[in-house]
Symmetry: C2
Subunit: 147 residues, 2 copies
DNA sequence: CAGCGTGGTTGCAAAGTGCTACCGCGTTAC
DNA sequence: GTAACGCGGTAGCACTTTGCAACCACGCTG
Protein backbone atom coordinates (compact mmCIF):
# COMPACT_ATOMS: atom_id res chain seq x y z
CA UNK A 1 0.00 0.00 0.00
CA UNK A 2 1.40 3.36 -0.95
CA UNK A 3 1.27 6.21 1.43
CA UNK A 4 -0.66 8.71 -0.64
CA UNK A 5 -0.76 11.28 2.16
CA UNK A 6 -2.12 14.23 0.26
CA UNK A 7 -4.36 12.12 -1.93
CA UNK A 8 -6.22 10.37 0.84
CA UNK A 9 -9.20 12.58 0.15
CA UNK A 10 -8.68 12.84 -3.56
CA UNK A 11 -11.73 13.70 -5.58
CA UNK A 12 -10.64 11.11 -8.11
CA UNK A 13 -12.67 7.93 -7.61
CA UNK A 14 -9.82 5.79 -8.88
CA UNK A 15 -7.57 6.59 -5.94
CA UNK A 16 -9.75 5.53 -3.05
CA UNK A 17 -10.42 1.98 -4.19
CA UNK A 18 -6.71 1.45 -4.54
CA UNK A 19 -6.28 1.95 -0.81
CA UNK A 20 -8.28 -1.25 -0.49
CA UNK A 21 -7.30 -3.13 -3.65
CA UNK A 22 -3.89 -1.69 -4.34
CA UNK A 23 -2.16 -4.79 -3.20
CA UNK A 24 -1.10 -7.65 -5.37
CA UNK A 25 -2.97 -10.25 -3.36
CA UNK A 26 -6.25 -8.54 -2.71
CA UNK A 27 -7.77 -8.86 -6.16
CA UNK A 28 -6.68 -12.48 -6.31
CA UNK A 29 -8.59 -13.11 -3.11
CA UNK A 30 -11.64 -11.46 -4.64
CA UNK A 31 -11.24 -13.50 -7.80
CA UNK A 32 -11.13 -16.68 -5.75
CA UNK A 33 -14.26 -15.57 -3.96
CA UNK A 34 -15.99 -15.25 -7.34
CA UNK A 35 -14.88 -18.81 -8.00
CA UNK A 36 -16.76 -19.89 -4.91
CA UNK A 37 -14.07 -19.96 -2.24
CA UNK A 38 -15.31 -19.00 1.19
CA UNK A 39 -12.98 -20.26 3.86
CA UNK A 40 -9.67 -19.04 5.19
CA UNK A 41 -7.96 -22.32 4.48
CA UNK A 42 -9.28 -22.44 0.92
CA UNK A 43 -7.84 -19.05 0.09
CA UNK A 44 -4.59 -19.86 1.80
CA UNK A 45 -4.14 -23.15 0.00
CA UNK A 46 -5.18 -21.87 -3.40
CA UNK A 47 -3.07 -18.72 -3.33
CA UNK A 48 -0.11 -20.12 -1.42
CA UNK A 49 0.43 -16.97 0.58
CA UNK A 50 1.47 -16.75 4.21
CA UNK A 51 -1.34 -16.98 6.71
CA UNK A 52 -0.50 -13.75 8.47
CA UNK A 53 -0.68 -11.87 5.18
CA UNK A 54 -3.98 -13.46 4.27
CA UNK A 55 -5.28 -12.68 7.72
CA UNK A 56 -4.37 -9.01 7.34
CA UNK A 57 -5.85 -8.77 3.84
CA UNK A 58 -9.11 -10.39 4.80
CA UNK A 59 -9.42 -8.20 7.88
CA UNK A 60 -8.86 -5.15 5.68
CA UNK A 61 -11.44 -6.33 3.16
CA UNK A 62 -13.97 -6.98 5.91
CA UNK A 63 -13.25 -3.54 7.41
CA UNK A 64 -13.89 -2.00 4.00
CA UNK A 65 -17.12 -3.88 3.41
CA UNK A 66 -15.95 -6.08 0.56
CA UNK A 67 -16.34 -9.27 2.54
CA UNK A 68 -18.51 -10.07 5.50
CA UNK A 69 -17.76 -12.74 8.05
CA UNK A 70 -20.80 -14.97 8.42
CA UNK A 71 -21.09 -17.79 10.91
CA UNK A 72 -20.88 -20.99 8.88
CA UNK A 73 -23.15 -22.04 6.02
CA UNK A 74 -22.61 -25.80 6.11
CA UNK A 75 -22.49 -27.63 9.41
CA UNK A 76 -18.91 -26.72 10.26
CA UNK A 77 -18.36 -24.67 13.41
CA UNK A 78 -16.19 -22.14 11.56
CA UNK A 79 -16.88 -18.87 9.86
CA UNK A 80 -16.72 -18.02 6.21
CA UNK A 81 -15.88 -14.95 4.23
CA UNK A 82 -18.63 -13.95 1.84
CA UNK A 83 -18.62 -11.18 -0.71
CA UNK A 84 -20.98 -8.36 0.09
CA UNK A 85 -22.93 -6.49 -2.56
CA UNK A 86 -20.03 -4.07 -2.67
CA UNK A 87 -17.66 -6.96 -3.21
CA UNK A 88 -19.75 -8.50 -5.95
CA UNK A 89 -19.75 -5.11 -7.66
CA UNK A 90 -16.08 -5.73 -8.37
CA UNK A 91 -17.02 -8.32 -10.95
CA UNK A 92 -16.53 -5.99 -13.95
CA UNK A 93 -13.16 -4.89 -12.56
CA UNK A 94 -11.88 -8.43 -12.16
CA UNK A 95 -13.31 -9.47 -15.51
CA UNK A 96 -11.76 -6.53 -17.34
CA UNK A 97 -8.44 -7.34 -15.72
CA UNK A 98 -8.80 -10.98 -16.68
CA UNK A 99 -9.48 -10.12 -20.30
CA UNK A 100 -6.51 -7.80 -20.39
CA UNK A 101 -4.39 -10.62 -19.04
CA UNK A 102 -5.77 -13.05 -21.60
CA UNK A 103 -5.02 -10.73 -24.46
CA UNK A 104 -1.55 -9.57 -23.54
CA UNK A 105 0.02 -12.12 -21.23
CA UNK A 106 -0.67 -15.36 -23.05
CA UNK A 107 0.64 -16.55 -26.34
CA UNK A 108 -1.88 -17.87 -28.80
CA UNK A 109 -1.75 -21.54 -27.96
CA UNK A 110 -0.86 -21.36 -24.30
CA UNK A 111 -3.42 -23.09 -22.08
CA UNK A 112 -5.44 -20.67 -20.00
CA UNK A 113 -8.48 -20.63 -17.81
CA UNK A 114 -11.55 -19.30 -19.61
CA UNK A 115 -14.50 -17.41 -18.17
CA UNK A 116 -17.73 -18.65 -19.69
CA UNK A 117 -21.37 -17.74 -19.47
CA UNK A 118 -22.90 -20.63 -17.53
CA UNK A 119 -26.18 -20.56 -19.43
CA UNK A 120 -24.73 -20.64 -22.93
CA UNK A 121 -21.37 -22.21 -22.18
CA UNK A 122 -19.80 -19.58 -24.41
CA UNK A 123 -17.05 -17.14 -23.45
CA UNK A 124 -18.26 -13.83 -22.13
CA UNK A 125 -18.10 -10.78 -24.36
CA UNK A 126 -15.27 -8.30 -24.07
CA UNK A 127 -15.88 -5.67 -21.40
CA UNK A 128 -16.24 -2.27 -23.07
CA UNK A 129 -16.74 1.30 -21.94
CA UNK A 130 -19.86 2.68 -23.57
CA UNK A 131 -21.61 6.00 -23.83
CA UNK A 132 -25.14 6.24 -22.50
CA UNK A 133 -26.40 5.59 -26.04
CA UNK A 134 -24.32 2.46 -26.41
CA UNK A 135 -21.39 3.69 -28.50
CA UNK A 136 -18.12 2.05 -27.52
CA UNK A 137 -15.73 4.64 -26.10
CA UNK A 138 -11.95 4.69 -26.09
CA UNK A 139 -9.69 6.68 -23.78
CA UNK A 140 -9.63 9.64 -26.14
CA UNK A 141 -13.41 9.80 -26.45
CA UNK A 142 -13.76 10.73 -22.81
CA UNK A 143 -12.58 13.36 -20.39
CA UNK A 144 -12.63 13.85 -16.66
CA UNK A 145 -14.57 16.84 -15.35
CA UNK A 146 -13.42 18.12 -12.01
CA UNK A 147 -16.06 19.19 -9.50
CA UNK B 1 4.43 -6.74 -5.39
CA UNK B 2 3.70 -10.07 -3.79
CA UNK B 3 6.01 -12.96 -4.33
CA UNK B 4 3.63 -15.46 -5.84
CA UNK B 5 6.36 -18.04 -6.37
CA UNK B 6 4.32 -21.01 -7.43
CA UNK B 7 1.77 -18.89 -9.27
CA UNK B 8 4.21 -17.09 -11.52
CA UNK B 9 3.03 -19.26 -14.37
CA UNK B 10 -0.55 -19.48 -13.26
CA UNK B 11 -3.05 -20.33 -15.93
CA UNK B 12 -5.36 -17.74 -14.43
CA UNK B 13 -5.19 -14.57 -16.50
CA UNK B 14 -5.97 -12.41 -13.47
CA UNK B 15 -2.70 -13.23 -11.74
CA UNK B 16 -0.20 -12.15 -14.38
CA UNK B 17 -1.44 -8.60 -14.84
CA UNK B 18 -1.16 -8.09 -11.13
CA UNK B 19 2.58 -8.58 -11.33
CA UNK B 20 2.58 -5.37 -13.36
CA UNK B 21 -0.36 -3.52 -11.85
CA UNK B 22 -0.46 -4.95 -8.37
CA UNK B 23 0.95 -1.84 -6.83
CA UNK B 24 -1.02 1.03 -5.44
CA UNK B 25 0.65 3.61 -7.61
CA UNK B 26 0.74 1.90 -10.96
CA UNK B 27 -2.92 2.22 -11.88
CA UNK B 28 -2.88 5.84 -10.79
CA UNK B 29 -0.04 6.48 -13.21
CA UNK B 30 -2.07 4.83 -15.97
CA UNK B 31 -5.11 6.87 -15.03
CA UNK B 32 -3.06 10.04 -15.26
CA UNK B 33 -1.83 8.95 -18.65
CA UNK B 34 -5.46 8.63 -19.79
CA UNK B 35 -5.91 12.19 -18.58
CA UNK B 36 -3.17 13.28 -20.95
CA UNK B 37 -0.09 13.33 -18.75
CA UNK B 38 3.08 12.35 -20.55
CA UNK B 39 6.11 13.60 -18.69
CA UNK B 40 7.99 12.38 -15.65
CA UNK B 41 7.57 15.65 -13.84
CA UNK B 42 3.85 15.80 -14.55
CA UNK B 43 3.27 12.41 -13.00
CA UNK B 44 5.50 13.22 -10.07
CA UNK B 45 3.81 16.51 -9.34
CA UNK B 46 0.29 15.22 -9.78
CA UNK B 47 0.71 12.06 -7.72
CA UNK B 48 3.10 13.45 -5.13
CA UNK B 49 5.15 10.27 -4.93
CA UNK B 50 8.89 10.03 -4.52
CA UNK B 51 10.89 10.28 -7.70
CA UNK B 52 12.76 7.03 -7.20
CA UNK B 53 9.48 5.16 -6.82
CA UNK B 54 8.02 6.79 -9.90
CA UNK B 55 11.20 6.00 -11.76
CA UNK B 56 10.97 2.33 -10.80
CA UNK B 57 7.26 2.10 -11.67
CA UNK B 58 7.67 3.74 -15.04
CA UNK B 59 10.64 1.54 -15.88
CA UNK B 60 8.56 -1.50 -14.97
CA UNK B 61 5.65 -0.30 -17.08
CA UNK B 62 7.94 0.34 -20.03
CA UNK B 63 9.53 -3.09 -19.59
CA UNK B 64 6.07 -4.62 -19.65
CA UNK B 65 4.96 -2.74 -22.72
CA UNK B 66 2.33 -0.55 -21.09
CA UNK B 67 4.22 2.65 -21.79
CA UNK B 68 6.76 3.45 -24.45
CA UNK B 69 9.41 6.12 -24.15
CA UNK B 70 9.27 8.35 -27.20
CA UNK B 71 11.68 11.19 -27.92
CA UNK B 72 9.73 14.40 -27.34
CA UNK B 73 6.53 15.45 -29.08
CA UNK B 74 6.67 19.20 -28.53
CA UNK B 75 9.95 21.07 -28.91
CA UNK B 76 11.40 20.09 -25.56
CA UNK B 77 14.59 18.04 -25.58
CA UNK B 78 13.17 15.50 -23.17
CA UNK B 79 11.36 12.23 -23.59
CA UNK B 80 7.80 11.39 -22.82
CA UNK B 81 5.97 8.32 -21.63
CA UNK B 82 3.14 7.34 -23.95
CA UNK B 83 0.64 4.57 -23.50
CA UNK B 84 1.03 1.74 -25.97
CA UNK B 85 -1.93 -0.11 -27.44
CA UNK B 86 -1.56 -2.55 -24.56
CA UNK B 87 -1.66 0.34 -22.14
CA UNK B 88 -4.74 1.89 -23.72
CA UNK B 89 -6.42 -1.51 -23.45
CA UNK B 90 -6.50 -0.89 -19.69
CA UNK B 91 -9.22 1.69 -20.20
CA UNK B 92 -12.07 -0.65 -19.21
CA UNK B 93 -10.14 -1.74 -16.13
CA UNK B 94 -9.53 1.80 -14.94
CA UNK B 95 -13.07 2.85 -15.77
CA UNK B 96 -14.61 -0.10 -13.94
CA UNK B 97 -12.46 0.71 -10.94
CA UNK B 98 -13.48 4.35 -11.13
CA UNK B 99 -17.15 3.49 -11.20
CA UNK B 100 -16.75 1.18 -8.25
CA UNK B 101 -15.05 4.00 -6.40
CA UNK B 102 -17.80 6.43 -7.33
CA UNK B 103 -20.49 4.12 -6.11
CA UNK B 104 -19.00 2.95 -2.84
CA UNK B 105 -16.46 5.51 -1.68
CA UNK B 106 -18.37 8.74 -2.04
CA UNK B 107 -21.39 9.93 -0.20
CA UNK B 108 -24.25 11.27 -2.28
CA UNK B 109 -23.39 14.92 -2.27
CA UNK B 110 -19.63 14.74 -2.02
CA UNK B 111 -17.86 16.47 -4.90
CA UNK B 112 -16.16 14.04 -7.24
CA UNK B 113 -14.51 13.98 -10.63
CA UNK B 114 -16.82 12.66 -13.34
CA UNK B 115 -15.90 10.77 -16.50
CA UNK B 116 -17.95 12.00 -19.41
CA UNK B 117 -18.34 11.11 -23.05
CA UNK B 118 -16.68 14.00 -24.89
CA UNK B 119 -19.11 13.92 -27.80
CA UNK B 120 -22.32 13.98 -25.78
CA UNK B 121 -21.04 15.58 -22.59
CA UNK B 122 -22.95 12.93 -20.68
CA UNK B 123 -21.54 10.51 -18.13
CA UNK B 124 -20.43 7.19 -19.55
CA UNK B 125 -22.60 4.15 -19.01
CA UNK B 126 -21.84 1.66 -16.29
CA UNK B 127 -19.32 -0.96 -17.33
CA UNK B 128 -21.03 -4.36 -17.41
CA UNK B 129 -19.99 -7.92 -18.07
CA UNK B 130 -22.13 -9.32 -20.87
CA UNK B 131 -22.67 -12.64 -22.57
CA UNK B 132 -21.95 -12.85 -26.27
CA UNK B 133 -25.65 -12.22 -26.92
CA UNK B 134 -25.68 -9.09 -24.80
CA UNK B 135 -27.24 -10.34 -21.57
CA UNK B 136 -25.73 -8.69 -18.50
CA UNK B 137 -23.93 -11.26 -16.39
CA UNK B 138 -23.27 -11.31 -12.66
CA UNK B 139 -20.64 -13.32 -10.83
CA UNK B 140 -22.95 -16.27 -10.37
CA UNK B 141 -23.88 -16.43 -14.04
CA UNK B 142 -20.35 -17.36 -15.01
CA UNK B 143 -17.78 -19.99 -14.24
CA UNK B 144 -14.11 -20.48 -14.93
CA UNK B 145 -13.14 -23.47 -17.06
CA UNK B 146 -9.64 -24.75 -16.48
CA UNK B 147 -7.63 -25.85 -19.50
C1' DC C 1 -7.26 -37.59 26.85
C1' DA C 2 -4.06 -37.80 22.70
C1' DG C 3 -4.17 -36.35 18.25
C1' DC C 4 -5.75 -33.71 14.36
C1' DG C 5 -7.72 -30.01 11.39
C1' DT C 6 -8.94 -25.22 11.26
C1' DG C 7 -7.91 -20.50 11.92
C1' DG C 8 -5.33 -17.84 13.31
C1' DT C 9 -0.98 -14.76 16.10
C1' DT C 10 3.98 -13.81 17.04
C1' DG C 11 9.14 -13.35 16.00
C1' DC C 12 12.39 -12.27 13.07
C1' DA C 13 15.15 -11.70 8.70
C1' DA C 14 14.79 -9.86 4.23
C1' DA C 15 12.85 -6.93 0.97
C1' DG C 16 10.41 -2.83 -0.40
C1' DT C 17 9.03 2.19 0.38
C1' DG C 18 9.85 6.88 0.64
C1' DC C 19 12.23 11.10 2.27
C1' DT C 20 16.32 13.96 1.32
C1' DA C 21 20.31 15.07 -0.97
C1' DC C 22 22.91 14.94 -4.90
C1' DC C 23 24.06 14.56 -10.09
C1' DG C 24 24.23 15.32 -15.28
C1' DC C 25 22.50 17.68 -18.96
C1' DG C 26 20.60 21.28 -21.76
C1' DT C 27 18.64 25.98 -21.68
C1' DT C 28 18.27 30.47 -20.34
C1' DA C 29 19.96 34.96 -17.71
C1' DC C 30 23.38 38.22 -17.11
C1' DG D 1 31.30 32.68 -20.62
C1' DT D 2 29.58 31.38 -16.72
C1' DA D 3 26.08 31.21 -13.24
C1' DA D 4 21.65 29.79 -12.33
C1' DC D 5 17.74 26.90 -13.29
C1' DG D 6 14.49 23.22 -14.76
C1' DC D 7 14.14 18.45 -15.88
C1' DG D 8 14.89 13.68 -15.12
C1' DG D 9 16.74 11.05 -12.74
C1' DT D 10 20.28 8.15 -8.96
C1' DA D 11 22.28 7.25 -4.11
C1' DG D 12 22.02 6.85 0.94
C1' DC D 13 19.52 5.67 4.62
C1' DA D 14 15.57 5.19 8.05
C1' DC D 15 11.41 3.06 8.32
C1' DT D 16 7.69 -0.16 7.04
C1' DT D 17 5.97 -4.27 5.00
C1' DT D 18 6.39 -9.06 3.55
C1' DG D 19 6.77 -13.71 4.28
C1' DC D 20 8.69 -17.92 6.36
C1' DA D 21 8.38 -20.72 10.44
C1' DA D 22 7.01 -21.65 14.79
C1' DC D 23 3.60 -21.50 18.08
C1' DC D 24 -1.23 -21.22 19.98
C1' DA D 25 -6.37 -21.95 20.91
C1' DC D 26 -10.35 -24.25 19.98
C1' DG D 27 -13.45 -27.93 18.63
C1' DC D 28 -13.92 -32.45 17.22
C1' DT D 29 -12.51 -37.67 16.80
C1' DG D 30 -10.88 -41.99 18.16
Amino acid sequence: MPKRTSHEESACPVARPLDVLGDGWTLLIVRDAFDGLRRFGQFQKNLGLAKNILSARLANLVANGVFELTPAADGSPYQEYRLTEKGRALFPVVTALRQWGEQYFFTGDEPRARLVDRAAGAPVARVEVRASDGRVLGPDDTEVLLP
